[in-house]
Symmetry: C2
């Protein structure tokens, strides 16, 4: 199968590219490399050093004998998108290529507009190019469990059967996203659903939970193949952050009561889920949604697990929640479709946490503790960040 990995230079895109390459697929990494620019803008870098993309690809070839192609460009450049799809004629396009941080989207107006325009226009350009070049291409799109928010009823996988005043229909599950980033994913979902209905495209929308972990069988083969690991309050996800905090002796920063419950998954399960989606495409014209997570935890539960596993003393500190969200709520979300396709989850056990703590321990000297506490306040329209240099979001330093 020929697969384009859009956003193939990112935290999950890169290990996904390697995984699919090793599984025998022809892989093309497409990326504008902007994630590296966010590092300069935030004034903080990946905990684990990452190689330049050209070196990553060269080393992968040296280590595995396999070729991964590279196309550098931006999805908001419609001509580039069309040219790339025409050039490679993929069977499947895996689309990670979006600004993916909720706090980043909430920094100020510029970052909110950047996030929505970047994500929505990139995906629109992709939908048009697919419809023009080959509507049978399968789009595997990364969405987020955060599209649903935390309703007081069970969350289903994309659609819900509603009986109302004596009539019944299956309708898109109502969305209550909690940041301009999460909103951009909701906008995408609606646009993709429409494109499937109107042009007969087919797509799998992976509503992914929060990913933890850094090592995969492929990225562990050589230091040049490592993927990034973010621990800062803007790009770091919760469990990764807690592990860094434990190792450097910083209190684990739980936002508010910590009852916020979220679906989670191991980075290796992301790879397996994406592959399962690719290998089992939907019908032509079908838009389907898989909830991509394996277990649910509250933030406070996660903090306690890390405290329990970490060999030294760990303090848990409840700080004011910088977000506007429910700190205690009902949460039960379906996630059977990927299991039905054969997913065998890596559950969050002591070993998984120990492995993560090991990664952090090896790079602890690179931790900038000044980047750990949240700086972006949802209730404000503009938050001041300590950054390397004030810049327009998403642009290269050059």
């Amino acid at each position: 199968m020929r697969i384009l990995i859009l956003g193939g230079d990112g935290y999950l895109g890169w290990p996904t590219a390697l995984h699919l390459s090793r599984r025998g697929h022809e892989v093309v990494v497409v990326d504008n490399l902007v994630r590296r620019d966010y590092d300069s803008e935030m004034g903080v870098g990946s905990l684990v050093p990452i190689a330049r993309i050209e070196r990553r690809v060269r080393t992968w070839h040296a280590v595995s004998g396999l070729h991964v192609e590279l196309a550098v460009g931006d999805l908001t450049d419609a001509a580039f998108v069309l040219r790339t799809i025409e050039a490679y004629r993929p069977d499947t396009i895996v689309h990670f290529a979006e600004q993916r941080s909720a706090p980043y989207s909430m920094i100020d107006r510029e970052h909110a507009v950047y996030t929505q325009v970047n994500n929505v226009v990139g995906t629109l350009n992709l939908l048009y190019a697919m419809a023009e070049v080959d509507p049978s291409i399968h789009l595997v799109k990364l969405g987020t469990m955060g599209e649903y928010g935390s309703p007081n009823i069970d969350i289903e996988e994309g659609f819900i059967e509603i009986t109302h005043r004596g009539r019944t229909d299956v309708l898109p599950y109502p969305k209550q996203p909690g940041s301009f980033y999460h909103l951009s994913k909701v906008h995408d979902s609606h646009n993709i659903m429409f494109a499937c209905r109107t042009w007969g495209l087919r797509s799998t929308d992976l509503n992914q939970g929060i990913v933890y972990g850094q090592e995969t069988p492929e990225t562990s083969l050589h230091p040049d193949l490592a993927t990034r690991f973010d621990y800062d309050a803007v790009f770091g996800t919760v469990l990764n952050r807690f592990c860094v905090q434990a190792v450097v002796g910083h209190p684990l920063t739980v936002y508010g009561a910590g009852g916020q419950t979220r679906g989670m998954l191991d980075i290796r399960d992301t790879l397996a889920c994406v592959e399962l989606a690719c290998l089992n495409p939907p019908e032509h014209g079908e838009y389907r949604v898989f909830n991509q997570f394996t277990e649910s935890f509250s933030v406070l539960q996660l903090a306690r697990i890390v405290r329990e596993v970490y060999p030294g003393p760990v303090e848990i500190e409840h700080i004011d929640d910088p977000r506007v969200e429910q700190e205690e709520h009902y949460y039960r979300a379906a996630h059977t479709k990927l299991l039905d396709l054969g997913l065998v989850p890596h559950l969050l056990d002591r070993q998984a946490i120990s492995d993560l703590l090991g990664v952090v321990g090896r790079h602890r000297r690179r931790v900038d503790t000044g980047a750990i506490r949240p700086t972006v306040q949802w209730r404000r329209t503009a938050s001041t960040l300590v950054t390397a240099a004030p810049r327009t979001p998403g642009t290269s330093a050059a």
Copy 2:
């Protein structure tokens, strides 16, 4: 009450501005005048001649003794939005300022992207400026009944109580919009709901049906005060188009079976509904939705009503539906909230049709019959229009 009318130079914005001015409010018209550029792009103009905006405002003063202020600028220019809200400090902002044609948004990729960026970014800039200047400003936002699509259950006003697996919650009504334009309104709705929850803004989202009519008590006072009347297949709404077709002896073009049922309202009721929303603001932090229409008709019913009322012979022609939509479907939508506030509807009777036919009769020599048949095909990613000159969407000819 001081009210900004964003999009106050348009089909509905202008008569709304006059209506609110005559009712004693301080009115400021804000517009980038782009609707006039779409005319050049489409190579077709309003059936009823319209005066330049400066002349409209001058004549209104001469006729009524009342001042309407004018601020020309673009909502995608964040500095302009902030400056304007700071300068006028309105109690209420009525927001018509979006690209509002479904076929226009479906012309090609450029027009789809233009529509979504223009509408979504304009509204985002507005939300940020309101939150920064004064979160108590009431945003009255024009949405569309088309956000809901045509589900097989009753449509409620914005939210629906769902009982699922033994639990109950009130959630946003699921959306199934039918064009990139309608999608842009769904995106707006989600963004506005989030801004109300996060920043304590308050907003009324008016999910409006299809408007017909051209004359209001104020616009009839002088020819310079007339509002535009579109009959072309891109910007003309269905009943207005049918009246033009009857008068010029063109068959009434029913798309497909004609069972597409939609909520409709008289232009004078739009004015009354907007005023009712302004006078009865929601609580701080509240996002509420009113379904703004008075009656439902199928497209075929409308064609038959026009045929019945028009004194000459009228042919009805079923043509291939250029849209992707259900040609027969269940349709029942709640619309009690505005009635509860006191709306007294102008229903679609013979007189209303006769008045409309009268307007068309007086300007029939201005009809370009070449603009009547649909040119934009939903199933294609690009449709060729016969336009005055190929241009970038939404830019001035200058």
